[in-house]
Amino acid sequence: MAAEDGSAEDRWVDDHAGPVVRPYAMTGGRARPVTGTFDLISLVMATRSDAGGESGLGPEHLAIVALCQRMQSVAEIAAHLDLPVGTVRVLLGDLMARDLVRVRPPGGGAGVPDESVFEAVINGLRAL
C-alpha cells in the first residue's frame, strides 16, 4: 500500500482518508484485548501527555493516547479514529496493560443504575 511518491501520499493520507491498513493488521491479527473489557461507553483518559517514547506501539496506539488527553468513550475513540470498535478494544487493552490509559466502566456495570443516577440525568436534561 506504499504510496508511489510523496505527492500521491499527500493526496491520500489525510484526516479523511480512513485506514490504509486493514484493521486486523493494526492489532497484529488479534481479535481480543490482552486485558480488560471495553464497553462502548466505558470512558477512557490517557495517563500521559505523550506515549511516543514507548516501544512496540503503533501509530493507532499513539493516536488513541493523543485523542484521550480529553476523556472519550470507546465509541467516540472508534468514531474519531475511523476504526472498528473491535480494533479499538484490542488497542486499548495494550495501552491499559502499560498503564497508559485509565478506563472507567459504565454506571451500574451490567445491571441497572441506582436512583440517584435517574435524578441526576433528569435534572441535567431539564437544564438543557
Binding site: T35, L40, I41, P84, R102, E119, L125
Partner: protein, 202 residues
Amino acid sequence: MDYGHSERAAGAPSLPTAVKILIAGGFGVGKTTLVGAVSETKPLRTEEVLTETGVGIDDLSGVEGKTTTTVAMDFGRITISDDLVLYLFGTPGQDRFWFVWDELALGAIGAVVLADTRRLADCFPSIDYFEERGTPFVVAVNCFDGARQYRLDEVQTALNLDPGVPMVLCDARRRESVRDVLVTLLEHAMKTWEARHGGIEG
C-alpha cells in the same frame, strides 16, 4: 479483588460514569436527527465489523464462506455533570442485528421508540424487543411536516401498547421537544426502577 488497572493512577481525579439511552425505531424515522437535536457534538458514527464467529448462530447459516458485516451506530453525547455523561445510541435498524442490540441494551437506563404514523408497523420489532427484555421505554411519535396527525390514543391502540407505556408527540428536530421526550423516559424509568426495587423500604 480484581479491579484491574482501571481506576486511579496515583492521585488522578476519578473519571465520570457514563450511562446510555437507546433510540430505536424503523429505518428513516429520524433517530439520528433526534440524537443530533440534543447532542453536544454532531452525531458520530461507530462501526462494528462482525465476522462469522462474531455473528454466532445468526441467520448467516446459508451464506457461503467467510462473511463480514458492518453494523453502524450513530450516537451523541450530553455531559450532565462532572460526574455523569449521557450517551444516546441509535440502534441499527435491521432485524438480523439483534445481537448488537443485546450489547447496546446491556445496562441501558431506557429506550425511546421513535414512531412514524405513516409506517407504524416499523416500530413493532423495537417495542417487542424492549417489552421482552424489560427495558423501560417510551414511544415518541415523530410529527413530520405533512405527516398525517393521529391522536395518541389511536396510535396506542394501533400499536397494541400497554397503557403503562408513556406516549408523547415530538419533533425530532427540536432540542426542547427531544429533551421533553428524554425527561418523560427518565421519569418512567425511575418509576419502573422504584416498582422493582421499592419493596425493600416497604
